[in-house]
């Protein structure tokens, strides 16, 4: 039994212990949403379920393990503030869909585009993402996210946004005020989580192998933590502690 399975079983056991189960009485679970767009929107079925499980195992967030596929017009879009748009191929939103996504992001949602290109970022998907983001936020250009940004230390401390691959060791984002409302990932993040029957991974991350997969999971956790806590780790109390106790070299938030 792998360590993760052991922990999963342990957690389930703990929930069943008398006196402990109460703490987990029906929770308003945090859901992951997956966007249905015109391209190949579900390149890795089950990957978001895996990520939900991992987030639940590694953090205190009460995750709903089953992600929900939504279209921009679905009312279910308003059930969560974390939406993943993964895939390959070209797609195009309608004006109404763009307006709904813009409103959803304005209200606080975080939209993560994950390019699932196999040997390189899929050009059609990338072009579609850039076109749609420009159409939704014409005044706000995509920008490269600084390695000092809190998303790289919102829970784990990571140095680069690993996925199944490492096409580009950076991510891009759209700023909405002080936060990012959308990220664009080029390294097939969900590909690192793709499993067969929730047991065996389908892909070996390249070039880093299993350690790269762990980094990818951590990055996924950080994205979720950023969606729920935003710049919490930029609060002075954290910065001071990490600077002085852990001797981290992090830049103080402006």
């Amino acid at each position: 039994m792998r360590r993760r399975d052991f922990l999963r079983a342990g957690a389930l056991g703990a929930l069943l212990l008398p006196g402990l189960g109460r703490a987990a009485t029906p929770a308003r679970d945090v859901r992951l949403l997956q966007l249905q767009h015109g391209g190949r929107w579900q390149p890795h079925p089950g990957a978001l379920t895996f990520l939900s499980t991992e987030i639940g195992l590694r953090t205190s967030i009460a995750m709903h393990e089953q992600p929900v596929a939504v279209r921009p017009a679905d009312p279910a879009l308003r059930d969560s503030m974390f939406l993943v748009a993964a895939g390959t191929g070209a797609f195009r939103f309608t004006d109404d869909e763009r307006a709904r996504l813009e409103r959803w992001i304005d209200l606080g949602g975080l939209l993560v585009f994950d390019n699932a290109g196999i040997t390189a970022p899929d050009k059609d998907f990338d072009a579609s993402v850039r076109r749609e983001l420009k159409a939704i936020f014409p005044q706000t250009p995509l920008e490269r996210v600084s390695p000092d940004h809190v998303v790289f230390r919102s829970f784990y401390r990571i140095d680069y946004p690993a996925g199944r691959t490492l096409h580009q060791p950076w991510i891009e984002g759209i700023r909405i005020g002080p936060r990012y409302g959308a990220f664009v990932i080029h390294n097939d993040l969900l590909g690192a989580f793709a499993t067969e029957d929730q047991r065996n991974f389908l892909h070996v991350p390249s070039p880093g192998g299993e350690s790269q997969r762990e980094t990818a999971i951590r990055f996924g956790v950080n994205l979720m933590m950023y969606a729920t806590c935003l710049h919490y780790k930029d609060d002075q109390v954290h910065v001071d502690y990490l600077l002085h106790k852990r001797k981290w070299k992090i830049r103080r938030p402006q």
Binding site: A11, A23, G108, F155, C229, K233
Partner: protein, 785 residues
């Protein structure tokens, strides 16, 4: 009735002045002088061979005299003969009769009275060439000249009584009374204290300089100002803003005067409501009397507080009542200090944190529990950015520095915080604000049953064990209760009927932490539409309670974020609902931290500082719990006076109004006379909320504004500057008055005028003819003719 101008006229006399009526333009005068010089030069040339030398010199001199005489005639000299009358001017003796003249022992008033008695001969002697007038000043200027002639009661005239001393006003009055007269001198008998703002200067102001110049006379002072041996410590002035921010360093500046203690240390204390909070030490030095101090302090109590700067009186001081000065500073929040503790990240926490973080009036510290005991943990802490939950620091050391504590879906159990729960309960009773937001880790689900926290909550909760559910997860649309219709927390719009429709249209919520009942004194503002508590009453969704000096709130669901993110049912769509989410939580925070605007009973003194002897006026406003004006409400009002050193609640009751009734606007006014110096506390009580009395207080300071009592030692530099400016002197009461400068009478009036021509007189013509004849005779004798 005599006309002074005429009465003073002296016998006429004649004055002669030499004048020249001829001359003419400059070129003509130059021509005449050149011609004269040419004649003299020709004379020298003609007589160059005349021997001996004395003859030559004699001839040239004779010609020069003749030429000079002719030039004099050219200028037509004459004598101006004028008959003039000369008038005596007035010497004004200004006697200071202000209250400060009587403060020393022996008093300055006694010294001035003695001077007037002793210098009677001097004053009589002045009357030969001057009119002498005695005026008293120090308040109004009045004539006391009769005492100079022996009539009237000098002691009574000189009795110290005036309420203020203003040299400026006195000089202006002198100028006004002797508008058409020449003033020979002003002699001021004074202690040198000008009790107006002017007197705080070391140099006269422009206005005073102008008044002195208009006198056109030397102003001299006969005074005891600057005398050694006078000892006094005084807090002269306090400078500060009338508000300061809670828990932020504030500054108060004090001006202290030290007289008679040239070297030594003076302790100056800053008191807040009679309790010392800061101390400064003045190291006095000779020649310095004014010291400026800066007190830094950190206000720790909201509302109006009395700050006093005080110096302990010394036995050899001449006046101890000026040793302290008080001011009222309104302590307000600069920012609402909120600590938000969250049991697990969620969308509900995300929205509330965002709201608090983006509010510029909120200083937020958040602690989120990111991992629990079941989570997979990394091998090394350096792999994560997790930090330990600082429970001890937060709940034991820092809690008092916050205004509001938020437990949002937080269970204390796993974090060894059980022992701190009594601290939190005490924090609330002591005036803190506490809100518990529902969720799977909150209330009964968070194992709070039986803890001290529950004692301060608005609701009772069922035990978390057993078969009874602690949470109902079903969605619902919350309903406003009758209390919630007008309560400030749930007032999302001003119009109550519109407010109800707003609540009806808000997005539905889901999941509620179940309560067992409402605590006594708690108010349910929003309730579940169907779920009931064991007592049959609806399950509260939002309930509020006043606990001791603090307030608590329970929001028994963790889904209010729906209003911010899921909106769209109402008229304004999701944007309007997001606005209502923010309004709800902002209302809740304002109520929790006791925003004064939300008090049910308000007392407001219309003046913070009222002079002794005047009426103070207080406005009282009362509201029902639904914040409608409490018309016809009976109020019990007590006014107490206490000394600065007495603690709050003590002091003497100076007025009690057991049955003051509000008008239709819920307002009432109270007036009372401030008859003594001190702090006046106005406390109002009313039965506005069932089961308890609501109280409100305000403060005012009764001040002694008699400026004569504030300054008892003069600054001799001030009167010296006046004297020097006018040509006067400063001397003591025992000095020789003959040294006082007096202006001689100079005002003259020409009564007639005549010219006596000198150039046309017979003697001048004879002298001219004689000189010509003499020259003719000598020239013949010397062989030039």
């Amino acid at each position: 009735m005599t006309v002074p101008f005429l009465a003073q006229a002296s016998p006429a006399e004649t004055v002669h002045t030499l004048v020249f009526n001829g001359g003419g333009p400059f070129w003509l005068q130059l021509l005449v002088w050149l011609a004269g010089a040419a004649v003299v030069a020709m004379t020298v040339h003609n007589h160059r061979r005349l021997k001996p030398l004395r003859r030559r010199i004699g001839m040239v001199a004779l010609r020069a005299v003749l030429v000079l005489l002719l030039i004099v005639l050219f200028y037509q000299p004459a004598l101006l003969e004028e008959r003039v009358a000369t008038h005596r001017n007035t010497v004004v003796v200004l006697a200071d009769v202000s209250a400060s003249m009587g403060m020393r022992d022996p008093s300055s008033a006694a010294a001035a009275t003695s001077w007037l008695k002793a210098q009677r001969d001097y004053l009589d002697a002045l009357k030969d060439r001057h009119d002498v007038t005695l005026l008293t000043f120090g308040g109004e200027v009045s004539d006391g000249s009769e005492v100079l002639s022996g009539a009237g009661d000098l002691e009574a005239l000189m009795r110290p009584r005036g309420a203020s001393t203003s040299f400026l006003e006195a000089f202006r009055e002198v100028r006004s009374r002797f508008r058409n007269r020449d003033i020979g001198a002003v002699i001021a008998l004074t202690d040198g204290i000008d009790s107006t703002a002017e007197g705080r200067r070391s140099e006269p102001s422009g206005e005073l300089v102008q008044a002195i110049r208009e006198l056109k006379a030397p102003v001299s002072f006969v005074t005891d100002a600057g005398s050694e041996g006078i000892r006094d410590l005084a807090v002269r002035q306090l400078s500060t803003n009338n508000f300061a921010f809670l828990l932020n360093a504030a500054m108060l500046e004090a001006v202290v005067e030290v007289h008679g203690y040239p070297e030594g240390l003076v302790d100056v204390r800053l008191l807040e409501n009679g309790v010392e909070i800061a101390r400064e030490v003045i190291e006095t030095s000779p020649g310095t009397t004014i010291y400026r101090l800066k007190f830094e302090f950190v206000p720790r109590k909201l509302g109006k507080q009395v700050f006093t700067v005080a110096i302990d009186p010394r036995p050899d001081e001449i006046w101890a009542r000026n040793n302290q000065k008080s001011t009222i500073i309104n302590i307000v929040r600069d920012k609402i200090r909120v600590v938000q503790i969250v049991g697990q990240p969620s969308w509900d926490q995300r929205h509330l944190r965002n709201l608090l973080k983006e509010n510029p009036n909120v200083d937020l510290v958040s602690f989120f529990i990111l991992v629990n005991r079941f989570n997979y943990r990394p091998l090394s802490s350096s792999e994560t950015s997790l930090i330990p939950f600082p429970a001890r620091e937060l709940f034991e050391e820092e809690l008092g520095g916050f205004d509001l504590l938020v437990f949002q879906n937080f269970n204390y159990g796993p974090f060894q915080t059980r022992q701190y729960l009594p601290h939190i309960a005490q924090f609330v009773r002591d005036g803190g604000a506490f809100v518990m937001v529902g969720g799977p880790l909150s209330l009964s689900a968070g194992d709070y049953y039986g803890t001290e926290i529950v004692d301060v909550l608005p609701v009772d909760i069922p035990p978390g064990w057993g078969q009874q559910p602690t949470i109902d997860p079903s969605p619902f649309v919350p309903a406003l209760t009758e209390s919630g219709r007008y309560h400030p927390i749930t007032r999302l719009t001003l119009d109550p009927s519109h407010n109800r429709s707003v609540w009806r249209d808000l997005p539905e919520l889901e999941s509620v932490n179940l309560a067992a009942g409402l605590k006594k004194g708690a108010v349910s503002l929003v309730e579940h539409p169907t779920l009931k508590m064991p007592n049959g009453e609806p399950q509260p969704i939002v309930a509020a309670r006043e606990v001791g000096k603090g307030r608590s709130l329970v929001v028994s669901t963790d889904s209010t974020w729906h209003w911010s993110f899921k909106g769209g049912r109402g008229e304004g769509g999701d944007a309007q609902d997001a606005h209502y989410y923010a309004r709800f939580w902002e209302n809740a925070i304002r109520w929790l931290i006791r925003d004064p605007e939300l008090d049910l009973l308000k007392v407001r003194s219309l003046r913070e500082s009222v002079p002794v002897g005047e009426q103070a006026e207080v406005l009282l406003s009362a509201f029902r719990p639904d914040y409608k004006p409490a018309a016809g409400q009976r109020l019990e009002v007590t006014v107490r006076r206490r000394a600065v050193s007495q603690p709050e609640g003590e002091g003497q009751v100076v007025q009690r109004e057991p049955e003051l009734t509000t008008d239709a606007q819920g307002e009432a006014r109270l007036r009372f006379r401030v008859d003594e110096v001190g702090l006046y506390t106005i406390e109002a009580r009313a039965d506005l909320v069932e089961g308890r009395q609501t109280t409100a207080t305000d403060l005012l300071v009764g001040v002694d504004t008699n400026p004569e009592l504030e300054r008892v030692v003069a600054d001799p530099r001030f009167i010296t500057a006046i004297a020097e400016l006018s040509g006067g002197v400063v001397q003591g009461f025992g000095d020789d008055p003959d040294a006082l400068p007096l202006k001689a009478p100079t005002v003259m009036r020409v009564r007639n005028r005549a010219f006596v021509e000198l150039w046309s007189s017979t003697w001048v013509l004879l002298a001219l003819a004689g000189l010509f004849a003499l020259e003719w005779w000598l020239r013949r004798r010397y062989g030039y003719l």
